[in-house]
């Protein structure tokens, strides 16, 4: 691309930009207000536009991308509401690492079609390229929620991978693991997947590119174990974890990671690993919570209580700690204290369905029927939303708000 062409593209895209660097949520709200419209071309313009669009597509398909981008721009000059045009301009520019310009093109597309999952995902990838990581995660997650990304598996995988590593970087390790583990299940053993998984299970809030160089062997060893764990290759996972433990027995989160691996099949052994983790890092909140929740699962609330309490003391701003302690107190019959803890948790994480569920149960025990009903309604709303984000709309059941018209055909 020549310098003149590049400048022209930048100016052109900027003129038609409909949004600025507002938060994604805000942008989404703005864009929804924009009316859908027709091209409004006269027959002569339409003919010219048709010709240009065909030429642009042919150039793109023929790999003549400089030519293609110029033709798309010309077409967009005639018809700025040409969604495919904006999409191809954005994607070609993204492929050329021109993230800022690509971002503007995609914003224009989203101004015309704010439910375009592919555009949101590519926009997120542009933000990633521009190192706006929080924005990148927000956009990609929104795209995944929409669930209508183009059917290219490669594209979907790129978006999923970036969501996974960005969630790890943001400290959302459990969600990050969910996004990354499917690569292992699909047999994708690439170093980037291994590294991402390693950072994730070691709970290191870095992107792979930011990982401390002196920890690289540790990260790769952990990643290999996590890969086998996610791929459900039991014997190899067991071996890999044992090697990791023998080489790095005192590194924080190694015992924790092994404990998580053991939790499903050998919960007693998992508890031992979490306790070993606490010997290394006494305030390791995830380990405290895992022990607390395992005891809750066993209805052993007396044993759960000290771990839940310590988790709250160590991380008073983490809603999960209040969830654990609140649930324990509720089952021990201390309803008032439980409500207090759970209300703190809800305040900290108003969008957590689990918090709403726990608080609803506590209100019900206290006989506060209206409060319980309100929290249940909120739980259902949030649960549906989160479940849709995580596993798609088909994963959601429950009572439909509107009868008849939404019922699946029989």
């Amino acid at each position: 691309m020549t310098a003149t062409t590049a400048r022209f593209i930048v100016v052109f895209i900027a003129v038609f930009s409909v949004t600025l660097a507002a938060p994604a949520q805000q942008r989404r709200a703005t864009q929804r207000k924009q009316p859908a419209s027709q091209s409004g071309l006269d027959p002569q313009q339409q003919a010219a536009f048709n010709k240009l669009s065909q030429q642009a597509d042919a150039a793109r398909e023929g790999g003549r991308l400089d030519e293609a981008i110029q033709l798309y721009i010309q077409g967009l000059q005639l018809n700025p509401k040409w969604k495919d045009g904006w999409w191809y301009v954005g994607s070609i520019l993204y492929d050329r690492d021109s993230y800022s310009d690509a971002r503007e093109a995609l914003r224009n597309l989203l101004g015309l079609d704010d439910k375009n999952g592919s555009a949101w995902a590519l926009l997120g990838l542009c933000e990633f390229g521009l190192r706006n990581y929080d924005q990148a995660l927000s956009d990609i997650q929104y795209a995944r929620t929409l669930g209508n990304m183009i059917s290219s598996k490669e594209f979907v995988n790129v978006a999923r991978y970036h969501a996974g590593i960005l969630m790890t970087r943001a400290g959302q390790f459990e969600l990050g693991y969910e996004a990354l583990r499917d690569f292992a299940r699909e047999g994708n053993e690439s170093p980037s997947v291994i590294e991402a998984l390693g950072l994730n299970i070691l709970r290191m809030p870095f992107l792979p590119a930011e990982a401390p160089p002196d920890r690289r062997e540790l990260i790769l060893m952990a990643g290999r174990a996590a890969f086998y764990q996610a791929a459900r290759r039991v014997q190899e996972a067991e071996r890999a974890f044992k090697e990791l433990l023998s080489r790095y027995p005192d590194v924080p989160n190694v015992h924790y990671a092994y404990g998580v691996y053991l939790l499903i099949d050998s919960p007693d052994a998992a508890l031992d690993e979490f306790r070993r983790e606490l010997q290394i890092s006494p305030d390791n909140v995830p380990a405290l919570l895992q022990i607390g929740f395992e005891y809750i699962k066993r209805n052993d609330f007396e044993n759960a209580r000290p771990y839940a309490q310590k988790a709250v003391d160590a991380a008073p701003n983490l809603f999960a700690t209040h969830n654990a302690l609140g649930r324990v107190l509720l089952e021990l019959g201390k309803v008032g204290e439980a409500i207090k803890e759970l209300e703190i948790g809800v305040k900290q994480a108003p969008d957590s369905p689990e918090m709403r569920f726990a608080l609803a149960r506590a209100y019900a025990r206290a006989g506060r029927k209206e409060d319980a009903a309100r929290e249940r309604a909120k739980f259902l709303e949030l649960d549906k939303q989160k479940r849709t984000e995580r596993s798609g709309p088909q994963s959601v059941g429950g009572i439909e708000a509107k009868p008849a018209d939404k019922n699946p055909p029989r």
Partner: protein, 579 residues
């Protein structure tokens, strides 16, 4: 060769054949005896609590074909179901077994069919399927038995992936397919079903569980991983659907009446259902287990109104707000407080739930103190039933288990595909896992699905039939509680539904007074002996027996001179019938 020689040789040959036959019979007897001695030895000389009756002894040679394909189509792993029913009204429980059949993804390469086995009254059964006209032909899932036309002869609905089939009993050992005429030709994928009278008009209505929206064009391949193989998808990836409620019009036809109610609005992936009365209001409610989405508790508010209260009653989700993989269900007053409790089985790691009724339309999960939670952590449960296996008067619990994914052992160190059966004995204040002490069959593993409870040898002890995915069924004879006494009741409604579903039975024997609701359904894909066996423990006589018949009569009848250790029939408004 002289004639004499020829005769002599022929005679010798006949003698040889007779000797050979005698030898074979003797071998079989010795082999059977050996098995009995071995079993007895393992149980300290006594017969095991539940004794596996082999096909060679029962004559049940039918085997389920699970149609397992490389593609691992989900319906393959969910069946089958079974039933104990007395289709010819001779007073002996016959057996019905459901098989798969041709569908959009499966073309059988050999003939496969359902099977109806007639009880020969000597511990053996004879296959009468063809004569009875009940071979199925769909990709069958389960069966529910009920006398929907109140003629005294049990009818059957066979659910399926495809189209379910309503078999009307012709009262002569045969059945007719009346599905279309009756208006219950539900397409899609139906699983468990239950007959019950929701509007107390004296006729049995029908509830059909609907699983996911599925078809060849909706199939998803799961698990194309490094193993290079497909495994059965978790149902989360398929769209949910609404279950169906059909009202009995009384003329052999039905009308779908779930429409516009919470039953239609509840999008689930329903696998198990039991009709019970959770609030003692005389209206039968429905507890429906759903896989990967919430369970539903439909409370019958009368006049055709249903209120779904799964979330508020705390039986919809796990204690931390997660939907689980609900499969088998049942309901009974296991703690004897007069209120119906609930049970639901889930998959491994989720543990099963035993919900104690708090008497205010809410429940508390008491699986842990009843030894159920720990015992089921690694198991996946399907067929299950509350029943009094030792006739001590207290309600016990049996669970049939098996993991839905045949490849589970490749990615789990602990969870197995075939899993053990479990028996819990009611010790009065809690359930105790007595599986280890209940016979060698509890040391074996099965890919179990359906479970039916019924007394096939009329000895007053309820036996079990477990059906396995892709394997032969297992018939378990109950040898427990031989010193305990019992009364077997066949209730015959005249104003209420003929099967008297919804009747409340109370009795006093010795120092104990007990009560039981005649529920319907429960377990998974299966139907049970319609008779109720009341355990009296050591008491040799029944002090009194009360039947509160369901509406429309709602009549309360009391009996004081009831024979024990035998089956009797009580007819609504007419007392004991001569058996």
């Amino acid at each position: 060769m002289s004639n004499e020689t020829r005769y002599h040789r022929t005679g010798s040959r006949n003698l040889l054949l007779v000797l050979l036959l005698l030898f074979l019979l003797a071998s079989l007897w010795v082999s059977r005896l050996g098995a009995v001695i071995r079993v007895a030895a393992q149980n300290g000389g006594a017969a095991p609590t539940f004794e596996e009756i082999p096909p060679s002894a029962s004559g049940i040679t039918w085997v389920h074909d699970n149609a397992m394909s490389e593609q691992r189509y989900l319906p393959e792993t969910l069946g089958p179901g079974c039933a104990f029913l007395d289709y010819d009204n001779d007073g002996w429980m016959d057996i019905y077994l459901v098989n798969y059949g041709a569908c959009d993804f499966f073309k059988p390469t050999r003939p496969i069919r359902n099977a109806l086995y007639h009880n020969n009254r000597d511990g053996t059964f004879t296959d009468v399927t063809e004569k009875a006209g009940v071979p199925g032909g769909t990709f069958g899932m389960g069966v529910a038995v009920g006398d929907y036309d109140n003629d005294g002869w049990p009818d059957m609905i066979v659910t399926a992936y495809g189209k379910c089939t309503l078999y009307h009993n012709n009262r002569n050992g045969t059945f007719s397919d009346v599905t279309d005429k009756a208006g219950v030709a539900a397409p899609g994928w139906t699983t468990s079903a239950v007959w019950f009278d929701y509007d107390n008009d004296g006729r049995l209505d029908l509830f059909l569980c609907s699983f996911v929206q599925y078809g060849l064009n909706k199939h998803i391949f799961c698990g194309d991983n490094k193993l290079g193989r497909h495994y059965y998808c978790i149902p989360r990836v398929f769209n949910p659907s609404s279950s169906l409620l059909f009202h009995n019009n009384g003329d052999g036809t039905f009308t779908e009446t779930g429409k516009g109610t919470d039953i239609e609005r509840a999008l689930g992936k329903a696998l198990g259902v039991v009709a019970t009365d959770i609030n003692n209001d005389g209206l039968m409610d429905l507890f429906v287990a759903s896989d990967t989405v919430q369970n539903f508790l439909f409370v019958n508010r009368g006049n055709g109104k249903w209120e779904e209260i799964g979330l508020a009653s705390e039986v919809g989700f796990s204690a931390n707000g997660q939907p689980r993989s609900g499969m088998g269900v049942d309901s009974a007053d296991f703690d004897g407080d007069g209120w119906q409790d609930l049970f639901v089985a889930n998959v491994d790691q989720e543990m099963f739930s035993l919900y104690k009724n708090n008497k205010d339309e809410t429940f508390t999960d008491v699986a842990r103190p009843n030894e159920v939670a720990a015992a089921t952590r690694l198991l996946s449960g399907w067929g299950l039933k509350f029943f009094d296996y030792d006739n001590d008067g207290k309600i016990d619990l049996f669970l049939a288990n098996g993991h839905p994914d045949d490849m589970i052992e490749q990615y789990s160190g602990q969870v197995k595909y075939a899993e053990p059966l479990l028996l819990f004995r009611n010790e009065g204040d809690h359930l105790v896992n007595v599986s280890d002490k209940s016979g060698p069959v509890f040391k074996k593993d099965f890919p179990a699905r359906g479970l039916a409870v019924g007394d096939y040898n009329n000895d007053g002890r309820l036996d079990l039939l477990v059906v396995n995915n892709g394997k032969a069924p297992v018939l378990l004879r109950n040898n427990a509680g031989k010193d305990n006494h019992w009364v077997g009741l066949k209730l015959q409604g005249t104003k209420c539904n003929r099967d008297a579903i919804g009747a409340r039975i109370s009795w006093s024997a010795g120092s104990a007074t007990r009560s039981r609701l005649k529920t319907s359904g429960g377990s998974y894909l299966s139907a049970h002996d319609v008779r109720e066996v009341l355990g009296l423990g050591k008491a040799t006589k029944l002090d009194w027996l009360e039947i509160k018949w369901p509406a429309p009569s709602g009549k309360l009848e009391r009996f004081t001179d009831v024979p024990v250790d035998k089956y009797i029939t009580i007819v609504e408004g007419k007392g004991l019938a001569a058996n």
